[in-house]
């Protein structure tokens, strides 16, 4: 795939390292954010609300999204049917049921478990559980001695092909801030109390590696078929803020 962004062909870009073009309005440059404060096209001070282009959109978020969609569809840059398709895929086709099936298969078959723990992606590809935000996956196993828990403190990285789009709490400031410093307090908020002596391993997803927790298999499930086991595997148990359901609960 060509790595040159197509917009380079549409608009000349200044050579790297050269001074910014004074004729060009730079709302607030990422790399060149030199704390000069916001400036207007005329060079005078600009009210804060206009130092980013997004402030030109309506303030109400629902109307903002609508306005941006209207513009992009009007320019031919977005196909509204593609938006419906994206929403439908993550609402109805890709979700925690994928991860639950993987976990149940690992519980049932030591060979599957070994593949998942050593090199999961080829196996996940065979199942069709590969794609955006799941290109690189590491599976971490809960044991009698270790409880794993996943967070992304910098944004909201999450294994989409296995668990779908993250829930509100995973994206919340409180979870992002506290899961790394006070994981046991957070677990208590989810109603999880770990046995004394069990260590907590938090994984902060700071790169494109996505993590899936392989929860401990509940007792009393020997010989259960994969479909029945999968029903015990909750989304939260695969993020590490929960445990697999006990049979009969």
């Amino acid at each position: 795939m060509p790595r040159t962004p197509f917009f380079l062909a549409l608009r000349p870009l200044r050579p790297l390292g050269s001074a910014p073009d004074p004729e060009v309005f730079h709302p607030k440059r990422g790399s060149g954010d030199l704390d000069l404060g916001p400036v207007s096209r005329q060079g005078g001070p600009m009210p804060h609300d206009h130092d980013h282009p997004h402030a030109l959109l309506p303030p109400d978020p629902a109307l903002r999204v609508k306005a941006l969609e209207t513009i992009l569809v009007g320019k031919g840059l977005v196909d509204p049917a593609a938006l419906d398709e994206i929403i439908d895929i993550y609402q109805n086709r890709i979700g925690p049921q994928n991860g639950a099936r993987v976990v149940a298969m690992a519980w049932s078959d030591p060979g599957v478990k070994a593949r998942l723990l050593s090199d999961p992606v080829p196996f996940l590809q065979e199942l069709g559980y590969y794609g955006r935000q799941g290109e690189h996956v590491t599976v971490v196993e809960n044991t009698a001695a270790v409880h794993n828990m996943i967070v992304c403190t910098l944004c909201s990285c999450y294994p989409w092909p296995l668990l779908g789009i993250p829930p509100g709490w995973y994206k919340s400031d409180a979870y992002r801030a506290r899961a790394v410093r006070a994981p046991r307090a957070v677990l208590a908020e989810f109603g999880v109390r770990l046995p004394e002596g069990k260590a907590v391993r938090v994984w902060d997803s700071t790169a494109e590696m996505r993590y899936l927790v392989l929860p401990e298999r509940p007792a009393g499930t020997e010989g259960w078929p994969v479909e029945a086991l999968a029903r015990l595997v909750t989304r939260d148990s695969m993020v590490g803020t929960g445990l697999a359901r006990e049979p009969g609960t």
């Binding site: 790595r3 962004p5 197509f6 549409l10 608009r11 870009l13 790297l16 709302p27 990422g30 790399s31 030199l34 980013h52 282009p53 978020p61 629902a62 903002r64 609508k66 941006l68 969609e69 209207t70 513009i71 992009l72 320019k75 031919g76 840059l77 977005v78 196909d79 593609a82 938006l83 994206i86 895929i89 993550y90 609402q91 794609g131 955006r132 799941g134 690189h136 590491t138 910098l154 944004c155 789009i165 829930p167 509100g168 919340s172 409180a174 801030a177 506290r178 790394v180 410093r181 046991r184 002596g197 260590a199 907590v200 391993r201 994984w203 902060d204 700071t206 790169a207 494109e208 590696m209």
Partner: protein
Amino acid sequence: MSRLHDMGGRIGDGAVNPADNAIYARDWHGRALALTLAAGALGAWNIDISRHARERLSPRDYMNFSYYEKWIAALADLLVERGLVSEEELRRGAAAGASEAADRALRADDVAAALARGGPSGRSIEAPPRFAVGERVRTRRPARNILVDQGHTRLPSYAAGCAGEVVICHGAHVLPDSHAHDLGEAPEPLYAVRFAARELWGRAEHPGDTVTLDLWESYLEPEA
């Protein structure tokens, strides 16, 4: 040095609310996500540029905006910066005309395949990894981008200057510190590095607790 998105370890947020369970709490949340993905498919930026666009929202906006409001604000900023949408169009809420890039638009029929394809960040590089599993390393301090002043980095502040142990070598991956600034992929070995909670926070809820982060080779040096 830090921006508000770098919130790991921050004090004062209060309890997590497990009942905040929905993927899209409002109808427009799904629309915001879909619009961001569809616009990203135009190829005018990469995922690191997109993350950085959210991170460099002003602190006031970052604090006041809900999660998907950040996405939409960053998307609007990127569309203008990359010349795909004009400020006048944002102001009017309507397109001034068809875009030259319209032939790159993601079509409904191609969505499933595009999402299934993804965009792997793993790369093959010649250089062997500098560190091996079991080796002790120390992270850069302060946590900062050394290629671009005040630029994007994926080393959280809470882990800056801390010593830990390499537990996994993930192979080489695209370096966000470069890629977020149109400076190329600059792939480097990526490692999972495990830190004792006590090393990061000065205290731990439990002596055995650890936090593991994925860190690029240039973020690390040998501990000693």
